[in-house]
Symmetry: C3
Subunit: 215 residues, 3 copies
Amino acid sequence: MKIVIQIIKAFFVCLMSLISFIYPYKLSSKIKECKNYLYSFWIKRFLGCVGHGSRVSYPCILQGGGNKNIRIGHNTSIQGHVVLGCWTQYGDNQFFNPSIIIGSHCNIGEYNQITACNGITIGDGLLTGRFVYIGDNSHGGLTREEAPIPPVKRKLFSKGEIRIGNNVWIGDKVTILAGVTIGDNVIIGANSVVTHDLPNNCVAAGVPARVLKKL
Amino acid sequence: MKIVIQIIKAFFVCLMSLISFIYPYKLSSKIKECKNYLYSFWIKRFLGCVGHGSRVSYPCILQGGGNKNIRIGHNTSIQGHVVLGCWTQYGDNQFFNPSIIIGSHCNIGEYNQITACNGITIGDGLLTGRFVYIGDNSHGGLTREEAPIPPVKRKLFSKGEIRIGNNVWIGDKVTILAGVTIGDNVIIGANSVVTHDLPNNCVAAGVPARVLKKL
Amino acid sequence: MKIVIQIIKAFFVCLMSLISFIYPYKLSSKIKECKNYLYSFWIKRFLGCVGHGSRVSYPCILQGGGNKNIRIGHNTSIQGHVVLGCWTQYGDNQFFNPSIIIGSHCNIGEYNQITACNGITIGDGLLTGRFVYIGDNSHGGLTREEAPIPPVKRKLFSKGEIRIGNNVWIGDKVTILAGVTIGDNVIIGANSVVTHDLPNNCVAAGVPARVLKKL
């Protein structure tokens, strides 16, 4: 019995080795790239405006119904598994006119989520890590009256728009909350939570994020 | 040569535009929804008890063998890529009788992980962001004796059950550790680590999480 | 009309119940395991050296071109969706000779990212949670001169190698930055950011991580 299993194992090792010659990793990468290239042309049709040379990788999840209010500049790359939510309607009786504007030469990392019911404006040259959340809305306004309501049923509330300047670098797993303005050339350390404005030319980090260094 | 590439490109742009009419984003969403609807009926059969109107999206990863100890209330939605781990056995000689009880009208976000070897009880109306971890167990008890053992081989240890009240809102990337009781109507800020109890009607955040505001 | 929908619903409930007998969750797990087993043999062929008994789950994303500089010990398990980046070239004019060495009996969690342009050395028995980032490089050196350059176009810079000892346990969503040495038997709490060295036999946590307890 043991010998039979050994033989089956050896067979599969040989088989997969053979396949690795016919179908090397580089080829699988190329195929993935082509798939994303084609996917880009498809998904772009549902967004407001996407500049030339911009790529949206598979899968991009669009939420909230306001896809046409999402505008992306030139040569920007949106990695896979990104959620873009532009909420024109929430529940039955809340209506918004939000916009998500992403500049040129940006690189939005995998598993990011950008969600707006007010407005998010991102400059040129943004680089984000993975698992970043940028959202201008919250479920309710943190009041005593809303506390006993299930969060999903609280009214969507935005403290203010989010504005991100040019050449900003946002680390992995950063969270950026409503009403925040981030200046140009800012670097935000991994795992930070940005709750207040950050000036130009600084390095910030922490929960909540504080300026650590002026450049 | 360049002209040929240009023509091929143009052809694919036209092709994908055509496909975008035949197969619009809304249709792809609807199909995904139907798939999740069917998947729900399949995966529910392996859980202990799931109330009416509750949805479990694809894929839901079940770990630890104690699926039948997982109970979910009515109209609760478990998003995609959620890991539910109920560990009845760990290694060869550790046996547990854990339970995961999730109330009604909850919304468990994508990529969450809920893992128990003791007990996790969640009330009604919970809303969680993405990448949340709720786990009542750790690999070993942080003692000198266990330190030189590889963490995977340390005994699974639970400091205590986790209890989460009603109408709690947990932000993105929050981690909730063993032995913690969270009251009703609590809001936990993004990227927080909850290591101690939180009272009713409060906003908490930080690493470790502290009460920032009483509602 | 309503009755028709009810009948269709009932039909699908019956159908999925039937499927759950023919194709139970355990079978779906086994098939996934087999797929990962075969995938391991394929992907290993593109890495430098992988010890016996080590498993690399689907999908493993290889970046940076230096796959052959990645070495993995025996009985190590790399979970799904892990990114391994060994950057031999960045942009047009930056060349590196990095290495990623992972010891034996390690368990690298889902959605982890290990990225090197210098060197990352991991001992035996490492256990990591999900969404962990271990990276020895940054986009630029945080200087005033580089600030106005888009982060992606800044030169890749490494403050130093990362060294991780034996029997280290890294919690969910931890970020480990360049130039850090972590001792043996260290436990790093969830959501921490490790920016400085950690000695042997300690528990550390926080943003940035500080030693909380000596074992």
